[in-house]
Amino acid sequence: MIDPSIKGQELDSVSFPIDRSKLVELARAFHDDDATWYDIAAATEAGFSELPVPPTVSALVDHWRPGGALSTATAIGADLARILHGEASWEYHAPVRVGDELTATSSVSDVVTREGKRGGTMTMVMIETRFTRTDGTLVVVRNDTLIETGAPA
């Protein structure tokens, strides 16, 4: 059960590298085997000065959270049996480059509760994660909406 007073709470701050061996894994997981995603020679040939990265590359931070992708849901006190991922959005401010060391800082930007259609209270938690380079440059802002559905009566 999520306590609405967590609004504004800082969650974690995690640093992680953008490395090529994870980019090849992401490319294959996304059913796109084009070497432009992971081989600098192929990317150069295609006209890129840096390896391009997929729009959801910042998800790699989950490997560096001690509790993995679920650690945010755990940190906000959600019941893991009732938590859904409703929405995710990304704003791109500067390129993510191979070799970057990024720091992801998460906080609870909002908490909204309402009566669920099937009874119980539905709680929506908005999490903002800001990704910065070591020099402080903001590269990506990710916002997630997590939904804890109402507990059965």
Partner: protein
């Protein structure tokens, strides 16, 4: 099955209202596809790879993590408009994706001004159910 498509644009591309993304299908999805993304993206929630766990949670089987089809859609968008042209990308999850599903990735330009295009996208199961809808703002040539 996975369709290979044109090379990745290095710069913004010309886009006009009502242009569409080359429709792309992925599937039938297997448990291996889910496990591959679990390893790549770091989502080891057992509900996506452990059938016994998923059934105990009241699900008929494991199901795909939303960030898998969000990621596939993101790469398809990047291939259409260029990976460095995307300014915002928003996905809304509206249903689960199951083993055996064939997903269709589609996109449409809603509006274009001098610099930016507004794009709507969907990920649709073979049943016609929309598993995810998405929006993006991208730089245009």
């Amino acid at each position: 099955m996975s369709t290979t498509i044109a090379s990745l644009p290095t710069a913004p591309v010309p886009l006009r209202a009502d242009d569409t993304m080359t429709e792309n299908q992925v599937g039938p999805l297997s448990r291996t596809d889910f496990v591959r993304y679990a390893g790549a993206g770091g989502d080891l929630n057992p509900i996506h790879h452990d059938d016994e766990f998923a059934r105990a949670a009241g699900m008929p089987s494991v199901f795909g993590m939303g960030m898998l089809h969000a990621g596939i859609l993101g790469t398809r968008l990047a291939r259409w408009v260029g990976p460095n042209s995307i300014r915002t990308f928003t996905v809304r999850f509206s249903g689960q994706v199951w083993p055996g599903d064939v997903l269709t990735f589609a996109g449409h330009v809603d509006a274009v001004d001098e610099q930016l295009a507004e794009i709507s996208m969907t990920v649709t199961r073979q049943t016609g159910d929309v598993a995810m809808s998405a929006k993006a703002t991208v730089l245009v040539a």
